[in-house]
């Protein structure tokens, strides 16, 4: 493909991406439109937004949540919904400061209400302190506490939906990880409906865009920042699955989308086969749990 042949399918400007299903080449302006249109179509198809919703965006300040806020800021007014950004400051020295600054800059520029909650405020200690002596469990511990922190922030701001920046790669990796762990309950778990009184519905509008498409979108719009990597990043299994899936996606384009279709098929057939297991409330904190004591209380030795 010579540069002279690499032209946008819509306007004949030089193409910046080549996409499949349908096969097309797009210039910068048309790729920005195309990516936004796919996210909007997913929100409408899956009825993610209702008029009157107050949508909280989990804004870490990293690439995915930055793209999510930009897109929701563009689309929500027309859907009749409001927007608030919430950031969880876990307390990770040398990492979180810069992403917090990025989050503040973006919400300031867009004029979006921004609320920050901290692990120190919610759990009495920051993540660095909680992890002393068990640094290798960093992602697991942080994941459990961050979910609780986001749920708490959602309550504080009175949001009716929580939007997170999970992209297609994240979601496909999770499907494969659940398969490799033999974890059918987690594969079936659908958080998009919420649990009245405990969790608002959780929506993932970016799950139709690959990580590469999101970075391309941000580069083209001038919002890409090369931020530091979390010092606790890289749990063994996700890291291996990420590499494996990237290889499969290159040799067999569409692998990640087909994994998502597989997950949706499993959820659909499981839904009709048997009712989901009932959840109880934690005897220590009163939040939902599948056992007697929730993961947060167990992790914090309450």
């Amino acid at each position: 493909m010579t540069p002279g042949e690499n032209l946008c399918s819509l306007c004949n400007e030089p193409a910046v991406v080549r996409l499949v299903e349908p096969e097309r080449r797009l210039c910068a302006a048309h790729f920005i439109e195309d990516a936004g249109a796919r996210v909007l179509a997913a929100m409408e198809r899956e009825r993610m937004i209702s008029p009157g919703d107050r949508v909280a965006v989990g804004l870490s300040g990293g690439k995915d949540s930055t793209a999510l806020l930009l897109l929701l800021h563009r689309f929500l007014p027309a859907l009749g919904a409001g927007l608030v950004a919430i950031t969880v400051d876990e307390g990770i020295a040398g990492y979180r400061e810069e992403t917090l600054r990025a989050a503040r800059d973006l919400t300031g520029e867009l004029g979006v209400e921004h609320v920050i909650v901290t692990f120190a405020d919610l759990f009495g200690e920051d993540l660095d302190t909680i992890l002393v002596g068990r640094e290798a469990q960093g992602c697991t511990v942080c994941g459990v506490l961050r979910r609780r922190a986001l749920a708490e922030a959602v309550k504080r701001v009175g949001a009716t939906k929580l939007a997170t920046g999970h992209n297609l790669d994240d979601e496909a990796q999770s499907v494969l990880m659940n398969v490799l762990r033999g974890d059918l309950p987690r594969l079936r778990q659908d958080t998009s409906t919420g649990q009245p009184g405990h969790f608002v519905p959780r929506i993932k509008p970016l799950a139709v865009l690959s990580e590469k498409e999101i970075v391309t979108y941000l580069l083209l719009r001038g919002y890409f920042r090369d931020l530091p990597e979390c010092p606790y990043a890289g749990t063994a299994l996700r890291s291996e699955v990420r590499t494996m899936l990237a290889g499969l996606e290159h040799r067999h384009p569409g692998t990640m989308v087909r994994l998502m279709q597989f997950r949706d098929g499993v959820r659909e057939s499981a839904r009709s086969a048997e009712p989901a297991k009932a959840l109880s409330t934690c005897r220590i904190c009163g939040e939902l749990t599948s056992g007697e004591v929730c993961q947060v209380c167990r992790l914090l030795d309450r």
């Binding site: 493909m1 540069p3 949540s65 690959s210 590469k212 580069l219 990597e229 990237a246 290889g247």
Partner: protein, 64 residues
């Protein structure tokens, strides 16, 4: 051609015209994990690069 790798080190390669995908694979880089900027513009990986071109490879590996 001049290739700027994800770690920002620079490699000068003397070779005939090749697609960017071929160049990435020779470097041991999976094309789905990077974005390529040729002479200052993002391009699809099936575009060819020639002597005199500058190829910048951007890796995006961390969460967000």
């Amino acid at each position: 051609m001049r290739i700027i790798l994800p770690d920002k080190s620079v490699r000068t390669v003397s070779r005939a015209s090749a697609t960017i995908e071929e160049i990435l694979i020779e470097l041991g880089i999976n094309p789905t994990t990077v974005i390529v900027v040729k002479n200052g513009t993002i391009v699809p990986e099936d575009v060819t690069a020639d002597e005199g071109d500058e190829i910048r490879i951007l890796r995006f590996s961390h969460g967000g």
